[in-house]
Amino acid sequence: MKSKNMSSYILDVLTYLSTIITVFALGLILFFLIREGSALIRPSLLTSDYFEQKYISSLPDEYELYTGTLPELTEDQFAIDNYGLIVEESRDKAGATVVRVVYLSDNSPLRNLLNENPAFQNEPLSLSEGMVINRVAYENRGSSLPSRGAAAMAEEMNNTDNIIRQFDFGVEGGGIRGSIIATVYLILMTLIIALPVGVLTALYFNEFAPSNKITNSMRSFIEVLTGVPSIIYGLMGVAVFVPLTTSLFQINSSNLIAGALTLAVILLPVIIRTTEESLRTVPNSHRFASLALGANKTQTTFKVVLPQAFSGILTATFLGIGRVIGESAALIFVLGTAIKDQVRILEPATSLAVHIFTVMSNEPANVELAAAIGVIILTIVLI
């Protein structure tokens, strides 16, 4: 029995097909990002610096070997009893073998090392958990290198005949802690600037402005602003906000404040529109009731109307956060593309999205890290 005609079938099939294509495209993005980036996604990526640190050190003339016990080993871990140390073998971004410290006793002699760097000669240094051991050089034999594996290094260090001459260790780079902090700064500063201005503008348009040609054309102008490509906002930021902030704070570089100001301008139309939409849902009867009670227009607007628009303002806030996290084009000029580990609001920095741009512009491009950051951005936006 045929209950539908041909054109209905075609339309049905088209809707199904479109949905499948959309889901497939989304799945493809996720699949690509996770496949490329999953190897790098671990807590240390979020908490460590981008630039690696290398230390060359030696043990003091007199030191005591570790005599205590060590925790249970799991698979792929190796104990170095003499030094109160447990290491594991893993791989760095480039795929090379590294030996990473997973446990270091508080009484380990490796907590009291001396810096061999001529600039900081004999200043105290300490190994700590999460760091990697780059080389252990001995008085009496060849060095232990990570490339020969953690097992070999542990065996050689455990041999009491071997006397350590030089101990090289470091912090692996490639972390995105700085960019995460810069992104959080950007979100906070942008919202602090854009929310009050946007909400008050929406209040003006919806509550105070007379309905005439000028306000209507201003409204449509604001609507148009939502469609302006963000790189044009970036140009405006370079032309206006960078000079403004540099002369205001006596600095000579692009900076986070200029970035936040630029993003605030990008967010304004979104915030104004969302807030206005929620203001329109506030019933007029509430405005009348308030006015009939002898409250003036301002009191009515701020005490009765604004609280009811709260959910709309919240929506605007979340949209704004998403936009700040995702924005890159506008920030490349205004914020700079220099990845920073120490973020200061009067200096250049990169947000997560710009971080992707920077690592992809490097030679060679670091697709894995970019994909890992992509996964992180997607996760934040989805939450």
Partner: protein, 251 residues
């Protein structure tokens, strides 16, 4: 008879449309005046003139004189805020703010700058008692007003108006959105309140006008056709048209 409002030659236009035509009317003090008439006859428009709510409608233009306690209240320079403090209003649909019962009633006094908690408590209690709502909500004044029933919400709106200690209460079809029992309660309340306040009420119910009002004004097509003591209007109207409307022959 003391008149609180004296309205002379009041004309009101919505753009090109004339909604009120040359109204002359006195509103007696401490009495209930009911405004009746078919839909669109101008009675709601008229009642909104008394607290200048028509100011909020851009296209409305008002000519004529509204004397309130011997003072011209329809002038540009008259303090509208002061007028609205003395002339409270209850609307057709219950419109409590989405706040607690307490905050609803305290809203008006707070906007006048009153912050003293003890004084506010006193005002809220008094308003709730006057609006015959106290017993029903005394244990939950901090709950949202949106949780009250329609009739309770309307009495809350009356309490909210009373909290401003007005002289006049304007009621624009206050029971048209309510069920008969809630209507009954509001009518009892009006009978109680008329001892202390001047009440002007717009109603579509002839029985309601007859039950609660001292004076009745019949509006038709933007004109005030007949006004008089309620008994007279209902028993022996001067105009045939009034009689036809009251007896339900048109409307």
């Amino acid at each position: 008879m003391d008149s609180l409002f004296e309205i002379r030659n009041l004309n009101l236009y919505y753009g090109d449309f004339q909604a009120l035509i040359s109204i002359d009317m006195d509103i007696p003090k401490n009495k209930v005046t009911a405004l009746i008439g078919p839909s669109g006859c101008g009675k709601s428009t008229f009642i909104r003139c008394l607290n200048r709510m028509n100011d909020l409608i851009d296209v409305a233009r008002i000519e004529g004189s509204i004397m309130y306690q011997g003072e011209e209240a329809n002038g540009e320079d008259y303090n509208v805020i002061e007028l609205r403090k003395k002339v409270g209003m209850v609307f057709q649909n219950p419109n409590p703010f989405p706040m607690s019962i307490y905050d609803n009633i305290a809203y008006g006094p707070r906007q006048q700058g009153l912050k003293d908690k003890a004084k506010l408590d006193e005002i809220v209690d008094k308003a709730l008692k006057q609006a015959a709502l106290y017993d029903e909500v005394k244990d939950r004044v901090n709950d949202s007003a949106m949780g009250l029933s329609g009739g309770q919400q309307q009495r809350l709106c009356i309490a909210r108006a009373l909290a401003m200690e007005p002289e006049v209460i304007l009621m624009d079809e206050p029971t048209s959105a309510l069920d008969p029992i809630a209507t009954q309660k509001i009518e009892d309340l009006i009978n109680e309140l008329k001892k202390y306040y001047t009440i002007v009420i717009v109603t579509h119910s002839m029985q309601q006008a007859a039950r609660i009002s001292d004076y009745t004004a019949f509006f038709y097509m933007g004109e005030l056709r007949e006004i008089g003591e309620t008994d007279m209007i209902f028993k022996a109207p001067k105009l045939k048209q009034t009689e036809d409307y009251i007896t339900g022959r048109f409307g």
